[in-house]
């Protein structure tokens, strides 16, 4: 009986551990312009879009990423989950890109509504919003591994 209880406890711990990443993923959603016919995007691909290592969708249309303000909660979560780096580290990356004349960072807008509006009106745009944001008019993309 003791062994069974231990096994069940271990199973519950494992289930909780597996649940945690999904819970973190649900704290933000990836959205794209409705003209982009895509259902799932890998984290690595999204990261490449946002640091402009990849600048075109498969169909050839330009990718236009949009960031949220550096002090926003959803940006912090997005940065850790997708880039695997803090917002500070990503800002340092962009400092180097800017001052070496290599690239400019994505525009930054304040709040979910502004991100949705940007993505809705900009062909090829991709952004992220909090899980509870109203995403009418844009396509929500599932986050793959």
């Amino acid at each position: 009986m003791k062994r069974i209880r231990k096994f069940i406890a271990l199973l519950l711990v494992l289930i909780a551990y597996r649940a945690s990443p999904a819970q973190a993923d649900e704290s933000f959603r990836i959205i794209v312009n409705s003209g982009i016919a895509i259902e799932t995007l890998d984290r690595k691909d999204i990261a490449k879009f946002f640091v402009k290592r990849t600048t075109a969708w498969d169909g050839g249309e330009s990718v236009v990423p949009v960031d949220q303000a550096p002090d926003s909660q959803v940006r912090e979560v997005f940065s850790e989950a997708v880039h695997g780096r803090s917002v500070t580290a990503v800002k340092s990356f962009w400092q180097k890109q800017i001052f070496s004349g290599r690239s400019v960072p994505p525009p930054e807008v304040s709040g979910d509504a502004a991100v949705v509006e940007f993505v809705k009106r900009t062909p090829g745009a991709i952004g992220y919003v909090s899980a509870s944001a109203d995403t009418a008019g844009v396509r929500t993309v599932r986050l793959g591994e």
């Binding site: 490449k48 075109a56 303000a69 803090s86 001052f99 070496s100 004349g101 400019v104 960072p105 525009p107």
Partner: protein, 409 residues
Amino acid sequence: MKDSSLRVMRGWVHALVILGALWCATDPGAAWAGEKFQLHGYGSWSYRRTANAGYIFDNGTHEGNYTNVSATLNVAAQPTENLLAVIQANWQLQEARTLDTVLLPLPPGPFTLPGQYGAIPIGTVTTTPKSTVELDYAFAEWAFSDAIRFRAGQVKLPFGLYTEIWDVGTLRPFLTLPKSIYGGQAIVAEAYQGGGFTGNFDLGDWGLLYDLYGGQVTSEFELLPTWIVDSTLSDVLGGRVVLITPTEGLSFGFSGYFGLRSDSALLFLERGSVGFHLDYSGESFLARFEVVFSKVPSFINAITGYGELAYMIDEHIQVAARVDFYKGEGKIALIKASTPETTDEHADYAVGLNYWFSPNFVIKTGYHYVRGNRFSVPTAFATNFVTPYAGLPFDDSNHLFEAGAQFSF
């Protein structure tokens, strides 16, 4: 008012101006980042003091030098998805040193006229603040694809780790760059005038960045701290390859350039540099290493390099260490005979302690123990190449204390 008091007051005025700019710079909204047009910038101020009386090192003097200020504005426009245009200008305020002279009648001789007067050095040096404005770069880039982008104009020279971010203090752990590679040897330069290709290839978990360029390179050659000549190298071909590894923050690369013609006052001929670099920039830990071999045929060969480490103890405090070395082999007999051997050598052992208010604003302090006289030279010798050296050795050790602030937006 005494010169020293004026210098101190001037230093405080500079510091207050910089602090005022810093107050604005710490506002995350200070940089204007629109969709198609962006304005950014950075600045720096430092106080630098050496231990050796009468010796200069890296703009540090025995009396203490407050006049080390620079500010840069960067304007970038992306009117279409394929077109990027960038302009960057830099303003610097530093001490200029001139030898004090007195007019005296020259002794009669084959090259003097009767009654002719000449300026005779009296062994002291006057320092005055000198302001310069330079165009760092101005170029446009057309992106055919991620792999092929063409850029033309005055472009940042892609070599090693720091040429493209030369004066950006918030992207490095020490106030100044290692002298070995970036200290006015004409080993590297800030920019080239010409055209080139750049791009990146996605290799799965790896990435490859490349640069290939041609044109003309202008760099400073610091014969002495007060004798800096611009050396323009033409018919240049250069490139850089950087591999981005699957380990987040780790990359390494190879750089090189070679030019065929030079029109400097010292009549350098063809010259070139090749180098290897490694960079690990993690969340808390940073490690960088570079080594460069440079050759100016019939003039000098040099092997130079540095290694630096930095660690964030918490989100604000950073400790840093650096070892920097230079070993030159001069080939001109006259210069070798008129300078001590130690002027071909340099080693700098440095430690630093920094406080980061944010990634855009940092206060830095550092201590350097310097060996060799490639960059640490007597002030009077630096201003009058011949007078103070009469076969006597220089003091080949020096110490530098530095403190300052750097910001970006």
